[in-house]
């Protein structure tokens, strides 16, 4: 990670007549990292990205991309970026190949280079087999890939992807996430999402935006540390023969730093066990596993309970 950030965002404010979309957002993006902009709908993720791509202008604040002041040379900045707007707007009546060719020409490539790049990008995003089809006839996933291909065509330094997985089915989501992770190896990527799991899976670093403000900025671990002041676990225990569920609950609750342990439900098959919610002050998984083992019970399941985004926000905003 280079010490000089590729993108510097400083004190962005974007006011609309009726509301303030961004209220002093600042963050850096470093070369080669995949940055996740996280936040619920309407938090200001898209607005930030629109400003980065100079679709919108900030009311105040400053953005520098690769040393170029966005305010001075927006066209120069746009040349460095590949952008996939939210919900992937495409010219539906165009054939994918023609569309990509057009994008390439708009970006200043000659047709031969375009053709070569289309071939390369098409195999990267996996649209070779649909390259001769009208975009309008493609499935949602393919459309998304065409959108990605469009953003990748000029091998941009920076990729900006606004909600790249929204509206896709789970398989497609997995594929696109993998794709983005691969791309992240050679590009600086900013993606926005309201899905914490996705961000955690894909991103090196997360900036959480809430109500127009950056509420958290750091690596996944750092953030989890930050919000990890409360650790919630889900524990599935097949009690030792004859042991009542309440005994397990008591055992769990009795462990040091555990604040509460509550039985939630039984699971009968394939391995019958009882499930407990455990709340602790720290990550107590090793101690917990240890204690259960020692008591003769069997751990069937032990995982951290994922926090939903809203909860994190609540927590973060509460903390801040």
């Amino acid at each position: 990670m280079t010490p000089h950030p590729v993108i510097q965002v400083r004190d962005l404010v974007k006011r609309y007549p009726t509301k303030t979309a961004l209220d002093g957002v600042s963050f850096d993006v470093h070369a080669g990292e995949i940055l996740g902009l996280l936040g619920p709908n309407g938090a200001g993720k898209s607005t930030s990205m629109k400003i980065l791509t100079s679709y919108l202008s900030p009311s105040s604040g400053k953005v520098t991309v690769d040393g170029i002041d966005l305010d001075v040379d927006p066209v120069g900045v746009r040349a460095l970026l590949g952008y996939l707007p939210e919900s992937t707007p495409l010219y539906l009546d165009m054939v994918a190949y023609d569309y990509l060719m057009w994008i390439g020409e708009m970006r200043g490539f000659d047709r031969a280079t375009c053709h070569r790049r289309i071939a390369e990008v098409a195999s990267v995003v996996g649209i070779k087999e649909v390259i001769g089809m009208q975009i309008g006839q493609l499935s949602k996933g393919y459309k998304q890939r065409v959108g990605l291909a469009q953003a990748l065509l000029h091998n941009p330094k920076i990729l900006i992807l606004d909600e790249p997985t929204s509206g896709l089915d789970p398989n497609q989501i997995v594929e696109i996430r993998n794709l983005i992770r691969d791309l992240g190896k050679s590009h600086t990527v900013i993606l926005s999402s309201h899905n914490l799991a996705e961000v955690r899976q894909v991103c090196d670093r997360i900036v959480i935006i809430h109500r127009g403000k950056v509420v958290a900025d750091g690596s996944v671990d750092e953030l989890e540390g930050k919000v990890g002041a409360s650790h919630k676990l889900v524990v599935g225990v097949a009690p030792a023969a004859g042991a009542p569920t309440s005994a397990v609950a008591a055992l769990l609750a009795g462990l040091p730093r555990v604040k509460a342990a509550i039985f939630t439900h039984d699971v009968r098959a394939p391995v019958p066990h009882a499930v407990y919610d455990v709340e602790a002050d720290a990550d107590v998984r090793p101690e917990l596993a240890d204690a259960i083992g020692k008591a003769g019970h069997t751990i069937v399941e032990l995982r951290r309970k994922s926090m939903d985004l809203e909860a994190i926000f609540q927590q973060l905003t509460h903390d801040v």
Partner: protein
């Protein structure tokens, strides 16, 4: 995802050459015509891929043809007049253009706004002016095709007589200029809304206003209408062309109207960035 493909995106020392070759070219200068032409080509292809081009084109050719042969009243007969002239064509074609050209321009930006593709377009390394000019040029391409197809009328007249080819050339130049001015007005209204029908109706009203109604409306305010304001009327500015006279004043007028239309469109497109 194959590994080799991923590698091609991550320039390795061995593939450095190819990576350099695909390095993004410098963004074209803001005054460059290249993106303008690229946009125009796509617009023309989009126009001729959609039925609107064929509907508008057919309506234009048939209605103009009927007016050419029979006049407004339907009682005139071109062949009975036995005159090798194309004045009827130049007299009536602008009326039809004023109606069909807004139908061609209505989708130019309204459609992109509605579909969201505008966001992609304006974040490509081009200026708003280049976009507007490209869109206009694409529509002008349609106009050129439509006017080219009216060539059957001079052809027919030349078969049966000897029309004044100079006058015909002047008339066509006039049609082209007045048509471009109409397109510029139509494009302007298309930047104002994401509703194509609204863009069409407002465009039509504007074109009709400039083509025919300025006199009447101005008369309601001024009586007599100052001659300076009479110059606003497209018809007054067009009549010399149909006679075969190309007057710098008339040319500049239509160029100016087109330029103002382009300017308004550009600023309207930029309004998204206003603080």
């Amino acid at each position: 995802m194959s590994n080799t493909a991923t590698e091609s995106l991550a320039p390795s020392p061995t593939r450095g050459a190819s990576a350099t070759a695909i390095a993004t070219p410098r963004p074209p200068r803001a005054s460059s015509m290249r993106p303008v032409i690229t946009i125009a080509r796509r617009e023309m292809a989009a126009t001729f891929d959609s039925p609107i081009a064929y509907i508008a084109g057919t309506v234009f050719l048939v209605v103009t043809g009927l007016l050419f042969f029979f006049g407004v009243s339907g009682a005139d007969d071109f062949f009975a007049a036995r005159e090798a002239t194309l004045r009827p064509l130049f007299e009536y074609a602008p009326w039809v253009l004023a109606v069909i050209l807004p139908a061609v321009t209505m989708r130019l930006l309204a459609e992109e706004k509605k579909a969201g593709t505008l966001e992609l377009l304006v974040t490509l390394p081009v200026t708003d002016l280049q976009i507007v000019l490209g869109k206009l040029l694409g529509a002008v391409g349609f106009l050129a095709v439509a006017l080219l197809l009216t060539g059957v009328f001079p052809l027919l007249v030349a078969m049966k007589g000897a029309p004044d080819l100079g006058a015909v050339a002047g008339g066509y130049l006039g049609l082209f200029l007045v048509g471009t001015a109409f397109l510029s007005l139509g494009l302007m209204t298309s930047t104002w809304t994401h509703n194509q029908i609204v863009a069409f109706i407002v465009g039509l009203l504007l074109c009709a206003f400039f083509w025919t109604a300025t006199d009447a409306l101005l008369k309601a305010v001024f009586d007599p209408v100052p001659s300076v304001l009479q110059l606003l009327n497209f018809q007054n500015q067009f009549s010399d062309f149909s006679k075969g006279v190309v007057d710098l004043r008339n040319v500049l007028y239509f160029v100016a109207v087109t330029a103002v239309g382009v300017a308004v469109s550009t600023y309207s497109l930029q309004s998204r960035q206003w603080k």
